[in-house]
């Protein structure tokens, strides 16, 4: 609790706390919840679910109702038209899932029952876990997550807790710990025994949301956090089902099996601290595998679909443009806009240019293009699998010298090599020699990955200058700006905690990692290494054949060429 207090009282947090406070106060102004009693809500994923009176008082609040206007999967609906579900039903779904999980834990665990007070806190955290999302969900996180004020707050969380919560988790934490929210809750919501938890409830809820384990006396109640933010948490259980359902992808995991195999296992340590950890009986490992596989498929086919990526990149231009023109002033301002009102903000541009050094960025036109699905097209695509090395004449000689140098080191190293080490070294040499087409993608595209927005602008300008040269060589007129060129090199998929000890062995004592059973991390990594793609997109103002030629030269730097690009790039003369 001391560390949470340090974060809340830090200057970085205090600097932005007022804005969050004003937002929450404005949202809850004039809202006095009525007691509607228990309600049943029908949901395509979880069926008919009962919500208690206090839960409905939260759900009916304008702060929660706001989530109806935030698309769960951002702009994926431009590619999967039915994927229009919102954070509202997802949050209800997570609360449903967590209730089921709590019931199952009580049934499955040896000598452990979740206290009523803890269960209520877990359900509350489930309802509020996404309260800090802004327009288009994770997309807006990638925007305000780069702003310096936000990065300073996030660093404070890291310094105190050694945790890296996601941006929306930090905003959710901040919202639930505002005075306005706490006053609303403790004055009006019929939460059971709220008087006894006034000082601890929202720091605990905040901890669950950001992934910090809760310590109570000599117990670490990590299971509570794991139910909300863990390797097989209620959040995943809901969004995997929900997102695949609305997108039309048939992704299944054995939910029932998972529910029958989860439990809480108490782990004692030498200094009398006991950890109550959420684990899965080893018989449930197949369900974990299925869950991971489904998540990878979701990323591959929905979140990282090339059209979804480009529409999100356009929104980045739009939102950073708004920020530059002071139409959005702080990262907390992002909370004020949901999907239906953010695109209207561009009308206030009034001819101003947010980035004059890079050419005109017309925000209203950009918003219209996004709204009307007038999206740029791919002119270049790169992955490890579609590259062929362009070898220098002396390449083979250099490879042999490399191998020979390693063998020399084996001989000359001061520490003796075991026969096993030598065998491994020979295996790696064989693998290296067999890789005729070996070209390290990292050495080609390292400078195009993980760019901040300002770095991206500079890189686009470099591409623009080369495009203009190519146009002039072909005596064509230039009618485009750097904002007609989009460099999209997405992050890699996050698999979850394959190395956490959450599998309970047959003896009901020993804990193992998921990887020890099924090498989850490794096959998922291999799968992903074949699926990752980096793209260059251009608007219809640019000739895509010229764009392809220039992009290939700039990205591959003469060291590689693409294997059969016409298989996936349409309309380009190659």
């Amino acid at each position: 609790m001391g560390k949470i207090k340090n974060i809340i009282e830090s200057p970085e947090y205090k600097k932005v706390e007022n804005d969050i406070e004003k937002f929450v106060k404005q949202k809850l102004k004039n809202y006095v919840p009525v007691n509607t009693g228990k309600k049943t809500i029908h949901d395509p994923v979880w069926g008919s679910v009962d919500y208690l009176d206090w839960e409905m008082q939260i759900v009916d609040s304008p702060l929660f109702q706001r989530l109806r206007d935030i698309n769960q999967v951002g702009l994926a609906m431009l590619t999967y038209p039915a994927a229009r579900h919102s954070r509202f039903e997802h949050s209800l779904g997570v609360a449903s899932a967590v209730k089921i999980m709590c019931d199952k834990i009580d049934r499955n665990s040896d000598n452990f029952r979740i206290p009523e007070q803890s269960r209520n806190a877990i359900v509350l955290a489930a309802l509020l876990h996404d309260i800090g999302h802004c327009f288009y969900s994770h997309l807006s996180e990638t925007i305000y997550g780069e702003l310096k004020d936000f990065v300073d707050v996030r660093k404070k969380f890291y310094d105190e807790l050694e945790l890296k919560p996601k941006p929306h988790e930090i905003l959710s934490f901040m919202i639930v710990n505002t005075n306005s929210f706490k006053e609303f809750f403790f004055n009006y919501v019929n939460y059971p025994a709220k008087g006894s938890v006034m000082n601890t409830l929202f720091p605990d809820v905040g901890c669950m949301i950001i992934g910090k384990s809760i310590k109570k006396g000599n117990r670490i109640e990590s299971f509570q956090t794991s139910l909300i933010n863990g390797p097989f948490d209620a959040d995943k259980l809901d969004y995997i089902k929900r997102d695949s359902l609305t997108a039309g992808l048939t992704l299944q995991y054995d939910m029932e099996r998972l529910f029958t195999k989860i439990q809480v296992h108490s782990i004692p340590s030498s200094n009398s601290i006991i950890e109550n950890r959420l684990v899965v009986n080893f018989n449930g490992i197949t369900a974990i595998e299925e869950l991971t596989f489904c998540k990878i498929m979701l990323f591959s086919y929905i979140y990282y679909h090339q059209k979804v990526l480009i529409s999100e990149t356009m929104i980045k231009d739009y939102a950073f443009g708004l920020y530059k023109l002071n139409l959005i002033q702080t990262f907390s301002d992002f909370l004020r806009y949901t999907d239906s009102d953010i695109l209207k903000l561009g009308k206030q541009q009034l001819g101003q240019n947010p980035f004059p050094e890079f050419g005109m960025l017309n925000l209203e036109e950009l918003a219209e293009n996004i709204h009307d699905r007038k999206l740029p097209k791919r002119c270049f695509e790169v992955s490890q699998g579609n590259l062929v090395a362009v070898k220098a004449d002396d390449e083979d000689a250099r490879v042999l010298k490399y191998c020979s140098d390693i063998l020399d080191k084996c001989r000359d190293d001061k520490e003796p090599f075991s026969p096993e080490d030598l065998r491994d070294a020979m295996l790696s040499l064989s693998a290296f020699l067999m890789k005729d087409d070996n070209v390290k993608l990292d050495l080609l595209v390292g400078d195009l990955r993980d760019m901040t927005y300002t770095e991206m602008l500079t890189k686009r300008k470099e591409f623009y200058d080369e495009f203009v040269k190519a146009y002039k060589e072909k005596e064509k007129n230039v009618t485009f700006t750097p904002f007609d060129i989009y460099i999209v090199f997405p992050k890699l998929v996050n698999y979850g905690a394959a190395n956490e000890e959450v599998i309970l062995g047959k003896d009901h004592q020993q804990l193992m990692t998921i990887n020890e059973f099924v090498k989850l991390d490794h096959w998922a990594g291999s799968f992903n290494s074949n699926k990752w793609r980096g793209y260059i997109f251009v608007s219809d103002k640019i000739d895509r054949s010229i764009a392809f030629e220039v992009s290939e030269r700039l990205v591959l730097k003469g060291k590689a060429k693409l294997r059969n690009p016409m298989a996936y790039l349409k309309g380009i003369n190659y």
Binding site: S269, K440, D442, L443, L492, S526, S529
Partner: protein, 125 residues
Amino acid sequence: MELVCARPSISSYDFMRYLCASLVKRSKVIIDLDSIIPHIYEFKQKNEQFKFMFEDIEFRTSIDHVVSNDISEGINALQTFGIVGKLNPKYEKLVIYLTEDEADDILGKCTADISKVMLELAAFF
């Protein structure tokens, strides 16, 4: 309004890249996969002054175990981008495919201080 974009001084991916390059400089191209996270965590605990280098790396510690999704994902990313491979079928070893020249290029892109620290960390392995 001035747009100032910020991020951790070293991303988790770059951290692992620099580490792989440093391991190559120390002639260590085959590493036990299971030893990577504990070694890095131990180094971090013993060298508080270098905490800034771990800003983008989260460690989750329980009573008897330390894990880091960022390091695991960094390794997977290195595999996606061709810098490392994992030996089948047990995935016990990590193989680093960088040549000395490529390792020098990578380390040349970070400051001398960071390069020095990375080489110290590589010595832990």
